[in-house]
């Protein structure tokens, strides 16, 4: 009953606020009038009686406020009031609001992005149901690869898994009637989709019942993205035939959009039944026990089966296999690992990377809070008179604090909203970003509910954190002191910890700025350095002839036809062919063992050294722009019936023959045992990495070591786009079913430049963030010191101080901190550049341009940060100030 009454009064209070106020007002007035009546009766005149009655009543406003509070309903009401008041105040100082919101948005946004990544990569990498019981079978902690027969034994004989599925990686030319393109997919076991619990988005998926022996299931299941992009969401494609490597497959279904295969970052376009492997590859490896081409075997553990039990189960099958097939199955010790991150192979670096990022994001947020704290302290100092006046008029300190926190929380909520919005934009962009268009690489990160929850928590926590900074200031407010003297306490006793933090921020900012300038300069220089080939005015076209189902002797024949066709294009100076290009996609995987001429033991480990090997056509050196130093290049007569020959680079010559000139006519051996004669020497170059030391390399004639991997180098001064069109037309004449990727050679170097570019961009982004934080930090501190010393500065000005002296007094400390931090940061940056030189070619800090740019950038940061406080200091009007105080 009482509760309901009380509620009624509260609700009435909320809805009839103005009525209620009027009623309280009327009642208090009635009281005063009654008292005045009494006083008048006792002999005072009317006016005097009223005056006395009011004085006796006491603090009218204060009691009114307390009465309202006593009536209840004021919590919501005062919150509304505080919010309105704070919004009004924030609108009045848009500069402060913008700086504060951006600072916090940076901190919250960084954390939201990092947490989204952690959520996507570590918490739910594959977005499958019951992902926690899904394990991949690992062999001796080294690899997950199995041969197909071994997989079958594991699948059929284990008692620990619900259903053991397998997949492998497939690449093929996908031909839907026109414009065949290279596509990546997975070979999957028949039970793959059922074991993972994937339901079709359209049509049906592959089932175990489809497997009835080799090549029994010519079906293909498409990924949603492939169906969407290549088939324009056409539901009619179910049942249609497409060609994969010129072999017909029937489209039977599409997987749901959120399923991207079972290896993070690798998003297959299509899924083929494993039993049909021969159709696309041309060779049957289903029975080959030595060929461990099955990339991963995985499944859900049965309910109640522990990891240890499953491993014991697998090991007993393993020791059986070891006994039965000692030749192929060595040490069969199994372990279990998470499939999505390829066990620890991807898992460990990603965890380390994300852990580092999380730390960084946390530091950014802390720094943002610290800076906002000093900004708020400056604001509170600006308001000290107003606050003191309010305390004097009877406002409780709690009430003032609540208002300050309302303002802080408003700022933090705005900052949080902007930050989360920014992170969504960034993640959307990141999800669409593919740094290597040649591969189906994708980073799909979508912010989920828990990410928003964490962002909101962080936002509120940081609001309270920086809102709490001026609390001491307010609790200390002594109304009479402030109103009398205009300032709470002497200046200069600032917490040195905050200064230290600011110096550290500036130093880190300077490190990042210096390092990113070093990286940019290095990158620019390395784009125009000598690679041992000339990427200018050259176009690359590449394919693999196995995509066109060419085998054996057909391969060199087609390659020759292609070269002849391309040479007829007008404006083409030369056309070369190689099985890979230096600094290209396949760099790092093309070295081979080199033995000297007398070597008898040609096993791995006994080699003289490893060298990068190119298999090239006669015109390669001209087309690549690689200079011949000695001897001759190849001709088409260097074929399988002619003696084996090679062209080597000086580094190769020096290492095996001692000198370049002495190498001519000498012999070396490769693993297959044939003696190979050196007939020429071509200049050194960069092959695998921009930053590598000179490496030995050798070139072999393509006819003596045929391969289907085909990289065409077309040198011409013509406009690359037009040229690419003519090249495509010529290639279509040779074989319309062969997919080619055509790009300029500079584009072909993207892989080599990916690391340095990413490092440069990352440093740039971090540099900008560091600069923003430094600006808000210096701004807050400078604004605070100007506010606190306003009176002193005014007196100095009145006594004739010049502008320069005023500025020195107002901003000296901020500038000193900036100079100190920048100097430290520059030094550290120069030291850090040594590390950077490992990633970015020719990154050197001993570059006056870099140093000048870094100093200039830091000066700019200082200028931006102190601009507004300096203007405020200069605009102090001593006359007005003296009148005010």
């Amino acid at each position: 009953m009482r509760l309901i009454d009380s509620l009624r009064v509260r609700i009435a209070a909320l809805f009839h606020r103005s009525e209620l106020n009027a009623e309280i007002e009327e009642e208090l007035r009635s009281h005063i009038q009654h008292r005045a009546d009494d006083l008048e009766r006792s002999g005072l005149n009317h006016a005097e009686a009223e005056r006395r009655a009011r004085i006796e009543f006491g603090g009218h406003e204060k009691f009114k406020e307390e009465s309202r509070e006593a009536l209840g309903g004021t919590l919501i009401e005062t919150t509304f009031q505080d919010v309105r008041f704070s919004l009004r105040r924030l609108r009045k100082s848009p500069g402060f609001t913008a700086v504060a919101v951006v600072t916090l948005a940076l901190g919250i946004g960084a954390n939201a992005v990092v947490f989204s990544a952690i959520n996507a990569f570590l918490l739910h990498p594959l977005k499958l149901s019951q992902e926690e019981s899904l394990y991949a079978v690992w062999r001796a902690n080294v690899t997950s690869s199995e041969s197909y027969p071994d997989y079958l034994e594991l699948r059929d004989r284990n008692r620990s898994f619900e259903s053991l599925a397998a997949y492998s990686v497939a690449m093929g030319a996908l031909d839907m009637g026109e414009n065949p393109s290279r596509a990546w997919g997975n070979y999957v076991s028949g039970n793959y989709f059922d074991a993972l619990g994937i339901r079709p988005y359209l049509g049906r998926l592959i089932h175990a019942s489809d497997e009835r022996g080799p090549n029994s299931a010519p079906f293909v299941v498409l990924s949603y993205a492939c169906w969407h992009n290549k088939f324009q969401d056409d539901r009619g494609v179910m049942g249609r035939k497409v060609l994969l490597n010129k072999q017909p497959f029937t489209i039977i279904g599409v997987v749901p959009p959120e399923f991207h295969g079972t290896l993070l970052f690798f998003n297959p376009d299509f899924y083929l039944p494993m039993v049909n492997q021969e159709q696309t590859d041309g060779v049957n490896v289903l029975n080959a026990r030595e060929n461990k081409w099955v990339f991963m075997v995985m499944g859900h553990l049965k309910a109640g089966v522990t990891q240890a039990q499953a491993i014991a189960d697998l090991n007993s099958i393993g020791s059986d296999l070891q006994k039965n097939y000692p030749k192929y199955d060595g040490n069969m010790k199994f372990s279990l690992a998470r499939p999505g991150l390829y066990g620890d192979y991807l898992g460990r670096p990603i965890r380390a990377f994300l852990g580092g990022l999380m730390l960084l994001a946390g530091l950014i947020l802390l720094a943002a809070c610290a800076n906002l704290g000093s900004l708020f302290a400056a604001r509170a100092a600006d308001r000290s008179r107003e606050l003191a006046l309010r305390v004097a008029l009877g406002a409780s300190r709690i009430r003032l604090l609540r208002q300050l926190f309302t303002e802080a929380l408003l700022i933090s909520l705005m900052g949080g909203a902007v930050g989360v919005w920014g992170s969504i934009v960034l993640l959307t962009w990141l999800s669409a970003w593919n740094p290597f268009p040649r591969w189906p690489v994708g980073v799909t990160v979508t912010p989920e509910a828990n990410v928003y929850g964490v962002a909101l928590l962080l936002t509120l926590a940081s609001g309270f954190l920086f809102g709490a900074v001026p609390v001491r200031q307010i609790l200390r407010t002594d109304p009479y002191g402030v109103i009398k003297s205009g300032s709470t306490r002497p200046v200069g006793l600032r917490i040195p910890l905050r200064d230290l933090l600011l110096v550290a921020q500036i130093a880190i900012c300077a490190v990042l700025v210096t390092a990113s300038f070093v990286a940019v300069r290095g990158l620019l220089r390395s784009l125009h350095s000598n690679f041992g080939f000339e990427p200018r005015n050259a176009i690359l076209a590449d394919t693999d002839l196995s995509l066109g189902a060419y085998r054996g002797d057909q391969v060199p024949e087609v390659q020759k036809r292609i070269l002849e066709a391309l040479e007829t294009i007008p404006g083409v100076e030369s056309v070369g062919l190689s099985d890979w290009t230096p600094l290209g996609q396949d760099a790092d995987s093309k070295d081979d063992l080199i033995f000297d001429n007398e070597a008898a033991d040609l096993r791995q480990g006994k080699e003289t050294f490893r060298a990068d090997m190119f298999k090239i056509s006669p015109q390669y050196f001209r087309a690549a722009g690689t200079a011949m130093l000695l001897g001759r290049t190849f001709t088409w007569h260097d074929d399988s019936s002619a003696p084996r020959v090679a062209v080597i680079n000086p580094e190769f010559a020096r290492r095996i023959f001692g000198s370049v000139t002495g190498a001519m006519g000498q012999y070396f051996k490769m693993r297959e045992g044939a003696r190979i004669q050196v007939v020429g020497v071509a200049e050194n170059g960069k092959y695998d990495h921009l930053t590598e030391d000179p490496k030995p390399a050798a070139y072999l004639p393509i006819l003596q070591s045929p391969t289907g991997e085909t990289w065409l180098l077309i040198r011409s001064g013509r406009d690359p786009q037009q040229l690419a069109a003519s090249i495509r037309a010529k290639l279509r004449d040779v074989d319309a079913g062969l997919p080619f990727i055509i790009e300029t050679w500079y584009e072909g170097l993207d892989t080599a430049f990916f690391g340095p570019r990413l490092a440069t961009q990352t440093l740039g982004v971090m540099g900008v963030m560091g600069a923003l934080l430094s600006i808000t930090g210096i701004f807050g501190m400078a604004a605070y010191s100007v506010s606190k010393r306003k009176k002193e500065l005014g007196i100095r000005m009145a006594l004739g101080a010049r502008r320069k002296e005023v500025l020195q007094a107002a901003l000296g400390r901020a500038v000193k901190l900036l100079a100190f931090g920048s100097a430290g940061g520059l030094l550290l940056g120069i030291l850090a550049s040594r590390v950077l030189a490992l990633i970015v070619f020719q990154a050197t800090p001993r570059d006056p341009m870099v140093l000048a740019a870094a100093v200039l950038a830091m000066a700019l940061v200082g200028l931006l940060a102190t601009w507004i406080p300096a203007l405020r200091a200069l605009s102090i009007d001593p006359i007005q100030l003296l009148r005010e105080e």
Binding site: M1, R2, S30, H34, F57, G58, F63, S67
Partner: protein
């Protein structure tokens, strides 16, 4: 003035209830009544009465209605609710116990211990 006693915290509510228990009163009337029944021995800031009054209304111990005062002015009159009457009885009993206890403690002689 100086011989008036400061109010103990929490006792204003009790005084208000007691004053109103004699008959409906407006705010100023309550103050006068308290002065009258306490022999003007207590110091009460006039405005401080109102937050107390509103608190009691919110707790459902008092109910209020507008009316006309003896001075022919509009005023809000307060009277006890049933709950208020019950609370007054309890608080009075509590107060008497407290006074008795404190009184006996203060007047205790060494030989009685």
């Amino acid at each position: 003035m100086n011989d008036q006693a400061q109010l103990l915290p929490g006792t204003l509510d009790l005084l208000i209830l007691r004053a109103v228990s004699i008959g409906p009163l407006h705010g100023y009337g309550i103050l006068l009544r308290i002065g009258q029944i306490s022999g003007n021995a207590l110091l009460i800031e006039q405005g401080a009465l109102y937050p107390g009054l509103f608190r009691l209304v919110r707790q459902g111990l008092l109910k209020a209605s507008w009316g006309t005062s003896e001075n022919n002015r509009r005023a809000k009159f307060y009277e006890l609710t049933t709950a208020g009457r019950k609370r007054l009885r309890e608080e009075t009993a509590n107060w008497n116990r407290l006074v008795a206890a404190i009184g006996s403690a203060l007047s205790a002689q060494p030989e009685e211990i």
